[in-house]
């Protein structure tokens, strides 16, 4: 897809909300994604990523709010063949081999890619004649990626595409994804691995309990969630001044206490040394890693009403830093 035929407007998610019974799965989510952006939806299980994606794809109807894809509704964008998706759950149907499956799916689109080309690109050419039921986890995901890709979509939506594969397979998958979308497709992918979001997205949208709690470039998000936090007692030094210490991503003051966020432990070590050198009066040091868990609590606490609702489920389904299981 070249510059001139690229879809204008990108993706606009406007005040989206969706509940299942008493569970508010998505609460007032707004996002604007430019054409060509690669965006990660990062969050723990139950954060509302899949529910958001389902509404973006037009698979479920929002209770409130709207989704606009390239200036039109999700249903119209899907009908026009602008959208390719890899859903969180979904295996290829039985009784077809890989090439037959991709050929069948290609036939549904107005301007599909060449099937052999897609098999080549997704690394599925060597399993083209294998039955869809006889694939490994990694192969299945690559085939499902081929299903999403053969449409030659402007928007590619991938919901936890690497959930079922091992670390090596995951790396392969993302390398393929990267090379394939170099052509300027817009990509939204959901993940609960911080490292994945960091490595493969231009932008991370952090979700927790149905809300967007942070949205920015990976470095910024990493500083918030993947890094270290230094707490100390130190008066009479402004947060602005503390920001001048190299490596401090964020500085805050609460009364006598200061909180400095750094992107990683090497940085926090350096910052700590510098802090001690500059301000000998500083005391009560406390350094600790910020797992996503804590990051979410901190970030959601910034948001008044979610801080209240945040206490009713004080045990979010988190699996430790980065959610690695």
């Amino acid at each position: 897809m070249n510059e001139t035929t690229r879809r204008p407007h990108g993706i606009v998610v406007d005040h989206l909300s969706k509940s299942f019974g008493s569970v508010a799965a998505v609460r007032d989510v707004s996002l604007t994604i430019e054409t060509g952006e690669i965006v990660a939806l990062l969050g723990p299980n139950g954060a509302g990523k899949t529910t958001t994606i389902d509404m973006i794809l037009g698979l479920s109807r929002p209770d409130k709010g709207t989704v606009t894809l390239f200036g039109t509704t999700p249903a119209n964008a899907v009908l026009a063949g602008h959208v390719g998706g890899m859903l969180q759950t979904g295996s290829p149907p039985q009784y077809l081999n890989v090439r037959e499956l991709i050929t069948m799916v290609a036939s549904l689109y107005p301007h599909p890619l060449d099937v052999d080309h897609v098999l080549e690109m997704t690394g599925t050419a060597e399993i083209a004649t294998r039955s869809t039921t006889k694939l490994s986890g990694g192969q299945t995901q690559r085939v499902r990626f081929a299903v999403a890709l053969v449409a030659d979509p402007d928007l590619l939506v991938l919901d936890e595409p690497t959930a079922a594969i091992d670390v090596e397979g995951r790396r392969d998958f993302w390398n393929i994804m990267r090379s394939v979308v170099a052509g300027g497709k817009t990509v939204i992918f959901a993940t609960h691995y911080l490292e994945e979001a960091d490595a493969y997205a231009d932008r991370i949208v952090l979700m927790a309990r149905g809300r967007v709690v942070a949205d920015g470039p990976p470095t910024e998000i990493k500083a918030k969630v993947g890094g270290r936090v230094i707490r100390a007692t130190l008066s009479e030094v402004s947060a602005e001044e503390l920001m001048t210490i190299e490596g401090v991503a964020k500085a805050e003051r609460q009364g006598e206490g200061i909180t400095l966020s750094c992107s990683d432990s090497a940085t926090s070590d350096r910052v700590l040394r510098e802090l001690l050198t500059r301000y000998p009066a500083a005391r009560d040091f406390e350094v600790h890693g910020v797992g996503l868990e804590e990051a979410f609590l901190v970030l959601t606490a910034d948001n008044e009403d979610s801080a209240v609702s945040g206490t009713d489920d004080a045990n979010p389904e988190l699996d430790g830093p980065g959610f690695e299981r």
Binding site: G58, L59, S91, P92, Y95, V105, S107, L108
Partner: protein
């Protein structure tokens, strides 16, 4: 019509041997086992093998068309139906492919029973054969639609028993295993059930007019319209995650 999509749907249906067994082998075995020893018996004014051939063709082809529901439920369970919904495949083409596949299986059953009937001495003229097959295919329309409806309504676990129950009930009431009501109120009731007219197809062909009564066309038509409406509504609503 998207013929590539249809072609692969047909291929998938043919490669599924399990359903072939249920809709083809069972009715054939029953036909030979029961009609064989009763060649000379007369039922409802016609020779038993002809009655039973039509009855087994009805039962087998009902099983064939309704079992498309099982394939649909399985596709929903693995998430394939949702995947299709994020492609430009239209509701019409989706249903068309399902209907063609259900029909194809039904046609196999009907033809197999026709051959089996001939072996047991069923004798019909060429036009009568054609008419019988045509009437069976028309009478099957509601069952194709009911199969699709059930496939989108139920989960895989509950669909097996449901299909078995629905098929048996329709077959039993319709007279696939022998006429159950000779007269009275219940006969009136079963005449409003489409499977009754499927089983009656051979009587209709051999009746003085050579055609089924008006009531049969109305019954088939009404069931088809109502079930199609329901099926489309259920399909459109059915984009939630299943498991």
């Amino acid at each position: 019509m998207n013929f590539t999509y249809l072609k692969f749907e047909i291929l998938r249906t043919l490669r599924n041997r399990r359903f072939l067994v249920f809709s083809l082998i069972f009715p054939l075995v029953l036909f030979f086992a029961i009609a064989g020893p009763n060649k000379m018996v007369i039922v409802e004014g016609i020779h038993f093998p002809l009655y039973y051939m039509t009855a087994m063709a009805s039962w087998g082809s009902m099983t064939a068309t309704l079992s498309s529901g099982a394939r649909i439920a399985a596709e929903r369970q693995i998430g394939w139906t949702r995947q299709l919904k994020i492609t430009p495949l239209s509701t019409r083409n989706y249903f068309a492919a399902k209907i063609v596949c259900g029909y194809m299986m039904a046609l196999f059953t009907v033809l197999a029973l026709g051959v089996a009937g001939t072996i047991l001495g069923v004798h019909l003229s060429g036009p009568e054969w054609l008419k019988l097959v045509a009437l069976l295919l028309v009478g099957l329309i509601p069952f194709v639609v009911i199969g699709i409806l059930l496939g989108h309504l139920m989960k895989v676990d509950s669909l097996g028993p449901a299909l078995g129950g629905v098929t048996s009930l329709f077959a039993l009431l319709g007279g696939s295993f022998g006429p159950i009501f000779q007269s009275g109120f219940m006969l009136k009731v079963v005449k409003d059930i489409p499977s009754y007219w499927l089983v009656q197809a051979s009587q209709s062909v051999l009746s003085p007019s050579g055609w089924p009564p008006a009531q049969s066309w109305i019954v088939i038509g009404v069931w088809t319209v109502v079930m199609s409406r329901l099926a489309v509504i259920v399909y459109r609503r059915d984009s939630n995650r299943v498991s």
